[in-house]
Structures are given as structure tokens and as C-alpha cells.
Amino acid sequence: MEYFAQQLINGVTLGSIYGLIAIGYTMVYGIVGMINFAHGDIFMVGAFLALIIYLALAALGVAFAPLALLIVLVLAMALTALYGWTVERIAYRPLRGSFRLAPLISAIGMSIFLQNYVQVAQGARVKPLPPVVPGYFWQSDGADGFIVNISNVQVIIVLTTIVSMLGFWLIVAKTPLGRAQRACEQDSKMAALLGVDVDRTISLTFVMGAALASVAGLMYLLYYGVADFYIGFVAGVKAFTAAVLGGIGSLPGAMLGGLLIGLIETLWSAYFSVEYKDVAAFSILVIVLIFLPSGLLGRPEVEKV
């Protein structure tokens, strides 16, 4: 039971990270109708930027961890958002109105580009970071011989995720920008006719998605303590799975899907085999798409002639 509880805690932590990335997929799919294949690599770029900024702050002598992390978070979000904006600008905007698969192929090219750009710029080695926030928030008494740990990092990850999701939800639900986004999602042509700047809205959607991905990148860095140029691919596919599982286009769905994928992956690793944990995640993607194409919380798609 204690073992299970521990896995549950780990799963929720991992799921939070996936959920944050999945938001980017689901929003872009909702508005533009394309799979932003490079989003996983934006997450990777976010993790790297967070690492670089953290090290720069350390070199400048900012030693107080909460302050440093806050600065890292804000700066990494801003810079990763710039990456997201540029990617949309260069690789996706010129393709609006092109044939259906063009943006996807362009996105694959962008993903390869970003991966190798980071590899060349930062080196191919895995970058280890010593634990920034050590210690445990809570530990069980271990009466059954197994101690359940909730580390400080895990608490930070879950709290940050909740806060960023709330902030994000407020933007989508309560601001004019969010209204424009929802309008574009429903019918971008009609929204354009009614004076919504569709291009700007889409750009800002990419910016928001990238900012959330960079939050996920920082969390990943804190949790695992490593980053390399390849983390974006697998994390991206899993986050996409999460988005599909929750129902693509649905924001609560992305979070729910992220949590489920995180839990399934952790439990699978704990009880079956670590080697096949990616197979488990990918199989879920296949199964969901076959039997539940609109996901858990998504609207079924109507095929139009």
C-alpha cells in the first residue's frame, strides 16, 4: 500500500509536467487544427534556457533559491515564448491555407532543426544539475518498512502547475484575448469577419503554449536534474498522447490526460517493466485513437463535406 501511495505521488508529479506540455498541443490543435510537432522541442528549449539562466544567476551570486527559481521561471517563460512565437512566424504562418499535411511536415522539420540547433549550440552531452531544492516536505513513519516520501520538489511542481493552470484558465476564460481565442477555435473565418485579428490570436496562442512548456521544462529540470537535446521527442509524444486522451481541444482534458498518462507510466514502471514504459504510453495513444477518438472530455468531431 505504501509502495502504491509513493507511485501515486510520483505519477501525479510526472503527470503535472505532461499536462503543462499537453496544453500547448491542445490549444494549437483547437485553433489552427494542426499538430505542432515541434512543441516537444520547445519544451526541451525551455528546459535548457532554464538551466542556462539558473547557472547565470548562480554565477552572478543570486544564492537564495526561491528568488533564483522565480527569476528563472519568469525569464525562461519569456525567452521560450519568443522561441514559440518565432517558430510560428517562420514555419507555420506562411502555410496557412496550404494543403493539410504541409504544416505537419514543416513542424517535423522545425523539430529536427531545434534539436540539432541545441545540440550544436550546447553540446550533445547530458547536462546534470545538482538538486536545487533538497529535502522532503513530508515522510511517513515507515511502520511497514517502506517510507513514503513527498519531496519539496514534488510539492513545488504540483503547486506551480496548479498556479500556472489557474492563471492560464483565467486568461482564456476572462480576458478579451481568451474570448478571441475561443472565437477563433469555433470558427476562425467568422471571427475574422467580426474583427478578431486571427493571426495575432494564433501567435499569442503559440506564445502561451511555449510559456507553459517552459514551465514544464523547468519542472522537469528540477525533478530529474538532467537535460539533453533529445528529451523533447519522447516527452512531446507523451504529452500529445495526454492531449488526445483528454480530448484534443479541451483544456481540462489536457490536464486530466496528462495526469492519467503520468500515473499509467509510473505504475507501469513500478509493477511491470521500466524498459517498456514508452511502449505503454504509445499503446495508450493507439488504443484511445481507435476506440475513443474524441477523448475523455472532447467533443466528437463532425465530418463535413
Binding site: F99, S106, S111, V118, D278
Partner: protein
């Protein structure tokens, strides 16, 4: 940023400069942390190494490039032509293209015996032809049927492992395994295709990607059967219809009264892959004229219309999938016998992306385009071997660039398979590709 020019009419030079400055500023923001501060493993943990010089270079290149473009191609009022190549030139090229195929085939047949051709050239030609064959195989799935397959390399892997394992466990020869590998790959194509073919284009793409990764991970972790990351070595080389390429009596050279040379096997492999590739091409061209081929192309154009006309979309998609997979299986078993060693390393997602890039760059659905693209791409990779990391950056950028400037690929005209009185090539922009 060209379209966000200031509303008030300002001097074009000033506007171009302003725009270039903004772009350079963005580039500075992108490059400064990522390229300027490099994380290096020091004795006591990570530290940062400043590399401001390359940031300066990158920003300068962006600024000057943008400025030059603003003054030339993107200057306000400049006319944008739909294509780089004027229509008349393209028509002439199309006429030439009719001869291009036969000439290319004749060249390919003569290649090993041309003067100045060394072992290295033939080796490279074998590699190029393998990708030409894979490109043609994927072209059936992506170009003709319009199904985006991101896990094509999985079938290549199935073919390679089929031969390697059959040879290892049952001692079967290459010539028995070649058709078996094709059949097994086609079988896997049907098996994987059947549940997912109801999905729309981009969903299908992601699911095929997932399948590709699943197969690779299984190959990687199934130690006792596939050797895991160590792969399978000592795969038997092909024989010339029973005659081995060995020195001494009974070998190929002795039987034909030739002096033994290691080149014989290379040349034989070359003709083998050339034959396989041409068979792929021939089958594809023929199938396009059959009802099934027409059904593929109709499916690509409009799936709902297809269904309304009574075409069985599931069977149509499955045959495309299975045939594409079969050719990948053939290519895979050829790859195994040529290398003599295979491991899951050779079947990563990048390979799928590369084959897809060849098909897309060549112009989806165009046979000659795919062949040209394979030569350009693989030849280019080989040419820039020293710039190992940079060539992948260029590869990614080229993929984006092709989609932005020439989404129909290099050869963008399509010749119809059915015509009334006169055969007219139509522009690729008129076909829908990839409705899925």
C-alpha cells in the same frame, strides 16, 4: 514582419532598416542565452562558457539578410510569382523529363563500368538506390494514397530483422528470405494499418509514429531474441544464384573464369538494389493505371466522395499500406544482407523523417522527383560528411523551407493516369494530397 509595416507612408529604406532592426533584436533574444552561454561540465558541476562571438555573427547575418531581402524580394509592391520557375521553362523541363527517366536508368545500368568509378562510388550509389527504393515505396502510401506515414522505417526494420532472424535461426538463404521479408512486412502493414486507418490524416501520422517507436523499443529490449542493442551480426551475404562471392573453386569468380575481386560482390549488390528499385517503380506505375491505383488517388483527393461512390476505403487504404510496407521489407532485407549487421540504431525516427523528406522534397506522387530528391539528399549528406551536426540543422531548415516556398516539391506537375484525347500534365497545386 513584412506585412506589419507602419501604417504611415515612410521612406522605404527607413522602413526596411527598422524592420531589419526588429528582426535582429528578436534574433538576439533567441541566440543570446542559447548560443552565447554554453553549459560546460567543470570539475565542480556545470559552469557557463561565454561565446558572444557567434551570437554577434548570427545577429549580424540575420540583420543583413533581412535588410537585403527587404530591399529586394520583399520590398513593398514587389510581385510575388507563384513559382520560382516560369511556366514556359517548366513546360520545357517537363518535355525533357520524359527523356530523363530512360537516360537515368541507362546511366544507372552503366555506372559500375564507367571509367573512374571506384568502390566508394558504387557503395554510395547502393546507399542512394536504397533510399530511392524506400522513397518510391513510401510514395505509394503518401503520394498516391495520401496517408501520412511517420513510422515507415518500422517496416524497413521488419524486413531487415526477418532476414537476419530467419538466417540465424533457420539458416535460410537470402533468396528465400527476400520474398518472405516482403510478405512479413506487408503482413505487419495490414496488422498495424487495420485498426488505425479510420483516423484522419494527422492522427494517422502520429499513430504510425507511435507504432514505429513501439517496434523499435521492442527490438531494443527483446534481448534473447533480437540481441537487443547489440543487434545481430554475421548475417550471411547474398550469393549469385547459389554461387558465393568467395575466392577458390566453386566461387563466383572461378565459375566464370574471372580473377577474384572484392568488387564483384559490390557490383552484384548494386545491380540487385537497382533491380529491386526498378521493380518498385514499375509496379507503382502499373498500379496507378489499375482500378486500385485510381482508387488511391481518388481517396487522396476526397475520401467522402470516394465512399459515396462505393469505393471500399478500408481495403483501398490497406492495400496501399501493405504494398508500401512490402517494398520497405524488400529494402530492409537487402539492407541486412549488405551490412551484414543490424541493430535498432538503424531504425530510428530520423530515418522515417528522412524518407518522408525525400518523398516530400521530390514532389509527392512524382516518381522521377523522388529519385532526384534521394540523389540530392543522400549525396548531399555524404558530401557534407565533415559537418556532421550542421547538416542536420540544414536538413530541418530545408524541410521547413520547402514547405514554405515550394510545398509541392521539386517536380510539381502531375501526369494524369486517365485522359481524354490528349495527355496534359497538371500542376501539383490542383491535386489535394493528403486529405487522408
Amino acid at each position: 514582419m513584412a506585412d506589419t509595416a507602419p501604417a504611415q507612408p515612410s521612406h522605404p529604406l527607413a522602413a526596411a532598416l527598422r524592420d531589419a532592426l526588429i528582426t535582429a533584436l528578436v534574433a538576439l533574444g533567441l541566440a543570446a542565452p542559447m548560443m552565447g552561454l554554453v553549459t560546460v561540465q567543470g570539475p565542480d558541476g556545470l559552469r557557463l562558457d561565454p561565446h558572444w562571438q557567434r551570437v554577434a555573427i548570427a545577429v549580424a547575418v540575420v540583420f543583413l539578410g533581412r535588410f537585403a531581402l527587404n530591399l529586394t524580394i520583399w520590398r513593398p509592391g514587389a510581385r510575388r510569382s507563384a513559382s520560382f520557375v516560369p511556366p514556359r521553362v517548366e513546360a520545357t523541363l517537363a518535355k525533357l523529363a520524359r527523356w530523363l527517366g530512360p537516360i537515368a536508368i541507362a546511366m544507372a545500368i552503366a555506372l559500375p563500368f564507367l571509367p573512374g568509378v571506384e568502390r566508394y562510388t558504387v557503395d554510395l550509389a547502393i546507399l542512394v538506390l536504397t533510399y530511392v527504393m524506400l522513397g518510391w515505396g513510401l510514395n505509394i502510401v503518401v503520394g498516391l494514397a495520401g496517408l501520412l506515414d511517420l513510422g515507415y522505417v518500422a517496416f524497413y526494420a521488419v524486413g531487415a530483422y526477418s532476414y537476419a532472424l530467419l538466417a540465424q535461426y533457420f539458416g535460410l538463404s537470402f533468396w528465400v528470405c527476400l520474398p518472405l521479408a516482403g510478405i512479413l512486412a506487408a503482413f505487419w502493414g495490414v496488422l498495424l494499418g487495420f485498426p488505425v486507418l479510420r483516423l484522419r490524416g494527422d492522427y494517422l501520422a502520429i499513430v504510425t509514429l507511435a507504432f514505429g517507436e513501439i517496434i523499435r523499443i521492442v527490438l531494443l529490449n527483446w534481448y534473447w531474441f533480437t540481441g537487443g542493442p547489440n543487434g545481430i551480426g554475421g548475417i550471411p551475404r547474398p550469393s549469385f544464384f547459389g554461387l558465393d562471392f568467395t575466392p577458390g573453386p566453386g566461387g563466383f569468380a572461378a565459375t566464370f573464369g574471372l580473377k577474384f575481386s572484392g568488387l564483384h560482390r559490390i557490383i552484384f549488390l548494386y545491380y540487385l538494389i537497382l533491380t529491386l528499385a526498378l521493380i518498385t517503380n514499375f509496379v507503382t506505375i502499373r498500379l496507378r493505371r489499375l482500378p486500385i491505383g485510381r482508387a488511391w488517388e481518388a481517396l487522396r483527393e476526397d475520401e467522402i466522395a470516394c465512399r459515396s461512390l462505393g469505393i471500399n476505403t478500408v481495403n483501398t487504404k490497406l492495400t496501399a499500406f501493405a504494398l508500401g510496407a512490402m517494398f520497405a521489407g524488400f529494402a530492409g532485407s537487402f539492407f541486412a544482407t549488405r551490412q551484414g549487421f543490424i541493430s535498432p540504431e538503424s531504425f530510428v525516427f530520423m530515418e522515417s523523417a528522412l524518407i518522408l523528406a525525400i518523398v516530400v522534397l521530390g514532389g509527392m506522387g512524382s516518381q522521377i522527383g523522388v529519385a532526384i530528391a534521394a540523389v540530392v539528399m543522400i549525396g548531399g549528406f555524404e558530401l557534407f560528411r565533415e559537418f556532421k551536426d550542421y547538416r542536420m540543422i540544414v536538413f530541418g531548415a530545408v524541410m521547413v523551407g520547402i514547405m514554405v516556398w515550394r510545398p509541392r516539391g521539386l517536380v510539381s506537375s502531375r501526369s494524369p493516369s486517365v485522359f481524354l484525347k490528349e495527355k496534359k500534365a497538371i500542376s501539383g497545386a490542383l491535386v489535394q494530397e493528403g486529405h487522408g
